[in-house]
């Protein structure tokens, strides 16, 4: 096979939230940027943009103000990725990011200095900071105790309007439920198929025909996240016109439409901005005296002056768990980790303190360059961002997307060309 050569200022490894954000910040700086990601992790993403909501995790203390939470986290965990940035820098990163998403027709809603309680597909609530606009409409209806009609769909697994209603009954008493059949389907149905089909106005009309008689009794109508694929905003507008009421979405179990839409929008938007995005694996990387690094894929050699490693954890394959130790496969970076496997996971899955393994990861300095245990920078032009970073249990602190975007910003800021 022919190999081609590519040259760039920044090679971003990873197409998850951190990789996307790093690509965006690098392009914004006018740097020649290539992004390589093997999988599409964003399709698992709910759309909830967590910043920081729980700390200390062991007491499940929740915070109404994410910034207050961050201040406390940085005090208690000085190696937490947020601790390498100022509040202004984090704010700057988020506002640039949300502005970009707005441009991509993917508007987010948030309340300054406040976490909001988002609704999950099992009717539980989760504190997050920002959500897509159509998700927000449901949350605000809940906050205002509006009467809502919540629709679910024959053959869509893991999404029961009745379950959401029952679980939420104390905080949102006025929900009615309706079960409908998606036009032209029998048996099992999938969110992405329905989202695509709903781009047709004919299907939109058919979809709502059966609920029309009940619409006058309520103030808003909720659906599982199936309202459109590429023209989500437009589909929502049409439905609102037809129904005469606001519509909202609740994300389904992954893969979930808000994440799929975000991936599509970002892939498109970043290419438009001049980024080169490839979906493939980097097989190995060699440091190079002249260029910084040479990264090899099956048919490409990429000469990169800098690399931002946003390769994720175990799901992303940025970290590999062997039976005896955790490794970083591309650079063989030192991985901060519990002493042995017995300490990786607690006996109780829902253990309040979380699991030891989630403290593991790559340690970086203030400039997001990986360091060895003595604190020495390993490569001058290597940076790391996202969930691969140590001391960052995003699942328990509820800070996944926020840390991804903030650390991507932090890494790219220090890139020198």
């Amino acid at each position: 096979m022919n190999t081609t050569n590519d040259y760039c200022d920044v090679l971003v490894i990873g197409s998850g939230m951190a990789g996307m954000a790093a690509t965006f910040f690098a392009l914004t700086r006018g740097l020649k940027t290539i992004q390589i990601g093997q999988s599409c992790p964003l399709q698992f993403y709910s759309g909830f943009f967590d910043v920081m909501a729980v700390h200390p995790v062991k007491d499940t203390t929740t915070w109404e103000n994410p910034w207050d939470a961050i201040v406390q986290v940085c005090k208690d965990i000085p190696q937490h990725p947020y601790a390498f940035l100022t509040k202004d820098q984090i704010l700057q990163a988020f506002s640039a990011w949300f502005e970009f998403l707005e441009q991509l027709n993917f508007p987010y809603h948030y309340i300054q200095n406040q976490n909001i309680a988002a609704i999950t597909p099992i009717g539980s609530q989760k504190l997050t900071h920002a959500v897509p606009k159509t998700t927000w409409k449901g949350i605000s209806s809940m906050m205002n105790h509006q009467k809502a009609l919540l629709v679910d769909i024959d053959g869509l697994k893991g999404f029961s309007a009745r379950q959401i209603k029952e679980t939420l009954q104390n905080v949102w008493p006025d929900i009615e439920t309706a079960r409908i059949t998606f036009p032209g389907t029998t048996g099992e149905v999938y969110a992405n198929h329905m989202a695509n089909a709903l781009e047709s106005s004919d299907i939109q009309k058919k979809l709502i025909a059966s609920i029309m008689p009940r619409v006058h009794r309520v103030q808003c109508i909720g659906f599982p996240a199936i309202l459109g694929m590429h023209h989500h905003q437009k589909v929502c507008e049409n439905l609102e016109k037809l129904l005469g009421k606001p519509v909202f979405e609740i994300p389904t179990l992954p893969p979930s439409m808000p994440g799929i839409r975000l991936r599509n929008a970002l892939t498109h938007g970043l290419s438009q901005k001049g980024g080169k995005l490839y979906q493939k694996a980097i097989d190995f990387i060699e440091p190079d005296g002249k260029y910084g690094f040479i990264a090899h894929t099956s048919n490409q050699k990429i000469f990169a002056k800098n690399i931002v490693l946003a390769s994720g954890r175990f799901m992303g394959k940025g970290l590999i768990a062997q039976r005896t130790a955790i490794k970083e496969p591309l650079f063989d970076l030192p991985v901060y980790q519990p002493e042995h496997r017995g300490e990786w996971h607690h006996k109780h899955f829902f253990n309040q303190e979380g699991h030891g393994i989630h403290q593991a990861g790559i340690c970086v300095d203030q400039s997001f360059r990986p360091i060895n245990p003595d604190g020495k920078i390993i490569y001058d032009c290597l940076y790391a961002a996202g969930t691969i970073l140590a001391h960052n249990d995003w699942m328990r602190h509820k800070c996944g997307a926020g840390v991804a975007v903030a650390s991507a910003f932090g890494s790219v800021k220090h890139v020198a060309v």
Partner: protein, 525 residues
């Protein structure tokens, strides 16, 4: 509530006794503090022993296994996969043990055939290259869940009953007789009484705790054994290490998986058992000496069970003592209508049930003989969904396009869940997610319940079986039970799987946190 015979414990032994007595015309009530096979009967290797394993240590146990194995194969063929077995030794194993093996088998009536080493590796390509001896024996694999569920179902057909979540918490004893048994419903917390003519204590490792309630001291020690389930089936036959019983020397195939084990660790509380990382590592390393593939293969679950050891001073290794069973008539202890049966093996459950039933019938003046060695065990629908691969077959045959696949790993459609739920409902009045797990392959595939648990919980709310809050609690309980078996195996792909599971259940659904925000939270805006 009145019953002729109250049986405590719904493991292989208790359910086997219920069927035995029911076939003799007695009316029994089986109670279990959890559910069918929640003790050792659900935490064992599933090996229908040929007996060859015991020829070096316990001739009687070996002979019992040899006879009973034959009987079970005949009366319950649907629960047995007649895989056959190999005993193999590798370089470094004790030559004397190997030399005596065949003649020891012969003495116990077990047919063992030497197998050419080259042939052995052809029969089982995963065997080590360092084989030095191989013998074929009539080992088999047995599905303990199907066995116990079918035993209960048959007893129920014959007029007996079964109550789950019913823990025996005390006895009222008058004139040397148990008049009343106090039961605590472990789900609802309610208590009620049962007035039995006779009480059979078949509580396995907990047998000593039951006798204690009647002030009868029976010393029971606890030995935990851990087992690992591989994702793929690694051999056609049962593979035993040809040596004195030790860690990780049996590999039992079952359906589409294999199970390797076990360990033997003294513990102090049979209700607090966890497969540990240390045990897993030792099983993998020891097991790999027989089958090197065990170093590389993917494991999907670890689990453990507790062997009761009726205290025998001086025994060096827990594995080598009292694999035989203990049948105790408590008249000599001052209680006239109580019998305890504990120890033994799954393979000999029928014999244990027979001996117990004989004793009880004798004492109660019932002269009907045992029938279980000849009467086939009817295959009921209760146990059928526990067999790996069965649901897909059913589903394919009916090919219901309307049906929705709730569990993709094990291909379990909505209709199968409907069936299990209605069956549970008619038998017990209530349904619960862990109970569905026990009666099917739900949560047992590679995703270990990440998706299907949530889907089934929401489906159950939809059907009105449970409410939203119960769904959350049952989901958490179900995931924790699965976690117990996942935790020590999390490297390589299972680590990725578990991270996804936590991302969904904690990162996204917030099941680790408080699910409903305080009022102050909702109205601020």
């Amino acid at each position: 509530m009145k019953t002729q015979v109250l049986i405590i414990g719904a493991g292989a032994t208790g359910t086997g006794i219920a069927r035995d007595l029911a076939l003799r015309g007695l009316q029994c009530l089986v109670v279990d503090k959890k559910d069918v096979n929640s003790g050792a009967s659900g935490g064992n290797h599933g090996l229908l022993h040929s007996g060859a394993r015991y020829v070096g240590s316990d001739f009687e146990a070996a002979r019992e296994c040899a006879d009973e194995g034959q009987i079970i194969k005949k009366i319950a063929p649907h629960c047995v996969e007649s895989t056959g077995g190999l005993f193999i030794a590798v370089e470094g194993d004790d030559e004397n043990y190997i030399a005596d093996f065949q003649s020891s088998c012969q003495k116990c009536g077990i047919i063992s055939q030497p197998v050419d080493l080259h042939d052995a590796r052809e029969m089982e390509p995963n065997l080590s290259k360092h084989l030095i001896a191989a013998y074929a024996v009539p080992d088999a694999a047995v599905d303990p869940f199907m066995l116990s569920l079918d035993n209960v179902a048959h007893a129920q057909q014959l007029g007996s009953s079964y109550l789950r979540f019913s823990e025996v918490s005390g006895f009222d004893i008058h004139n040397k007789k148990i008049e009343c048994v106090h039961i605590n419903n472990t789900r609802s917390g309610e208590t009620f009484d049962i007035h039995p003519d006779w009480v059979i204590n078949a509580a396995g490792a907990w047998a000593g705790r039951i006798t204690q309630l009647a002030d009868i001291p029976v010393g029971v020690l606890f030995s935990k054994g851990t087992l690992l389930v591989t994702q793929k089936r690694l051999s056609q036959r049962v593979i035993n290490r040809l040596r004195q019983a030790s860690d990780a020397d049996i590999l039992v195939p079952g359906g589409s998986v294999s199970i390797i084990g076990t360990t033997s660790v003294r513990i102090s509380d049979p209700d607090d058992i966890w497969p540990t990382v240390k045990e897993v590592d030792s099983i993998v390393e020891e097991g790999a000496q027989m089958l090197p593939v065990l170093e590389k293969t993917r494991y999907i679950r670890a689990y453990c069970g507790v062997r009761p050891l009726i205290s025998q001073p001086g025994a060096a290794d827990d594995r080598n003592v009292s694999r035989g069973f203990a049948l105790m008539d408590h008249e000599e202890h001052g209680v006239q209508n109580m019998t305890t049966i504990t120890g033994g093996k799954l393979t000999t459950y029928r014999l244990m049930a027979e001996k117990t039933a004989n004793l009880v019938c004798d004492r109660m003046g019932v002269s009907v003989p045992c029938k279980t060695h000849t009467t086939p065990l009817p295959s009921t629908t209760d146990g059928r969904w526990t067999e790996p691969g069965l649901t897909p077959q059913e589903w394919m045959q009916h090919s219901r396009s309307q049906d929705v696949m709730l569990c993709e790993c094990e291909m379990i459609p909505k209709s199968a869940i409907d069936y299990i739920i209605s069956n549970m409902r008619s038998k017990y009045g209530t349904v619960d997610l862990p109970g569905i797990g026990l009666r099917s392959r739900v949560g047992k595939g590679p995703c270990q319940g990440t998706y299907c648990s949530e889907r089934i919980a929401s489906y159950m709310v939809d059907r009105g079986d449970i409410n939203g809050e119960e769904a959350v609690n049952q989901l958490k309980g179900f995931l924790q039970e699965r976690w117990r078996g996942q935790r020590p195996l999390l490297w390589d792909i299972p680590m990725i799987q578990s991270e996804l599971q936590e991302a969904i259940h904690c990162g996204f659904l917030n099941l680790d946190g408080c699910l409903q925000m305080k009022k102050s939270m909702e109205v601020r805006s």
